[in-house]
Symmetry: C2
Subunit: 279 residues, 2 copies
């Protein structure tokens, strides 16, 4: 099968690699506005050919949109109008607005709304991870609006690359993603800003940074070109969780101010319950 | 050399292992109020003998205090009164209050105030990491108040286990630790509480949790018996950084509320500058 990947960045190229490796695809065509990404993806062997979108479409069974969610919102409706029997899927971190945009489209059935829960703080074709996606969850939204053959093809793809499928309404997806992905990025950005701010008066503030700091701040390296559109499209849910997060921090702050260390211990014991989820 | 480790938990036993492995110590004596820890440490081979403190002291050249900082505050002054030519060091995450407690002690010179910047979210002798400490920074505070031979012994210890030495005033240490270690734990605890709170209405909220969430929430598994005393002893600094962190989160929140995505992008680009520090 020939698969076109629109967006030859971290996600697109990591998926391209896995699709070839597992035998799901025999040929990968890369499409990207950024010529440097296309050239790098070609040089590193992630894609077999680079060509303009319209040429790529006619040669492909499946087209994967792997670009920032604001660009997806623009591209998806026009892509739907161009395809015939091909299957179209996206891999973006928001689903509500995207699904809403094509809800009334006569070709809606050819589109499969998905979100594979995998990524790193890096971007671009140089950042490919060869065992990407394995063992993680892939969400498929609004499967009832998708043609049976299109759904089946995408299910096969995710199973082939070792992902576990979860089905969800697009709005429910966006709430869940805000809580277990988007807020982690915001917390990490804010932590980075906090310490960088202090660095202005204390040159050597990072001298003592250790593993714990690294792990909480890792996501702060993530690209705004990807994340600002996610926060825009999922604004209401992100604000809800951000308000709750600030409230939790204020609770801890109040314990410190009042020297209420009994309640602080209780809060931390509650936070420890995350061990039930993360082994 | 015989070394006594007071506190046979993660830090004490990981250090015990490294001291034997590198040939710095020939014999390790474990001291702990918790008999189960002592037995486990013995069974796993981290310590060669377990005995009461007073017996251990007379047999040792070096005594390492590796217990929570509230217990250190109690133990350190009484230990100083018991030793003769031995060297005493602690490895706790706060230094100001601890150093203050023994500042006027006639045997102050035998004590070396240190903080090796290594740890994990786990605790107890089962959690030992065999290549612990390597390549990380160890802070020594108030070296000018320490006898030359005591300082030299502890410097040799840290060099032997592969740590890079940094010298700091105890108050400066506490400010730095608040920014690059203590706040990470608070942010992580609050993030865990935020999502666990949501789980009360949304059963499956963790279904989509991926690598990013795991890394920001990992520290939320950390033991309150260790961390509450750290926050208590470093309260003022932790409150400063917590206020700054909440202010940064509110800036991001305001961008979302006002849909000021240009400024949000700018904030994230600033946060990205952490790449300069964390490769």
């Amino acid at each position: 099968m020939t698969v076109t990947i629109i967006g030859t960045g971290l996600i697109g190229c990591s998926m391209a690699y896995r699709l070839k490796e597992t035998g799901f695809a025999q040929k990968i065509i890369g499409v990207d506005n950024d010529d440097r990404h296309l050239k790098t993806a070609r040089r590193l062997g992630w894609i077999d050919a680079a060509m303009p979108l319209d040429e790529a479409i006619v040669q492909s069974t499946l087209i994967v949109i792997a670009i920032p969610v604001d660009a997806t919102a623009v591209t998806l409706p026009s892509l739907l109008s161009k395809i015939d029997k091909q299957v179209l899927m996206d891999v973006g971190s928001t689903k509500g607005i995207i699904c809403g945009l094509v809800a009334g489209d006569s070709k809606r059935g050819r589109y499969v709304a998905t979100h594979p829960m995998w990524g790193t703080e890096k971007d671009g074709p140089e950042a490919v991870v060869k065992d990407a996606f394995k063992g993680r969850v892939a969400v498929i939204c609004e499967k009832e609006r998708t043609d049976a053959d299109a759904l089946q093809l995408v299910e096969e793809l995710y199973e082939k690359i070792g992902m576990q499928l979860v089905y969800m309404d697009s709005d429910v997806h966006d709430v869940h993603a805000a809580y277990v992905s988007h807020i982690s990025h915001i917390a990490s950005y804010a932590l980075s800003l906090t310490v960088l701010e202090k660095e202005k008066e204390e040159d050597a503030i990072f001298e003592l940074a250790s593993g714990g700091f690294e792990s909480t701040v890792r996501l702060a390296k993530s690209n705004p070109a990807m994340w600002v559109p996610i926060f825009m499209q999922n604004k209401e849910n992100v604000l809800d969780v951000l308000n709750e997060h600030i409230a939790q921090l204020r609770k801890i702050k109040s314990c410190l101010e009042k020297e209420n260390f009994v309640y602080l211990k209780e809060l931390i014991e509650n936070a420890n319950k995350i061990k039930r989820i993360l082994k």
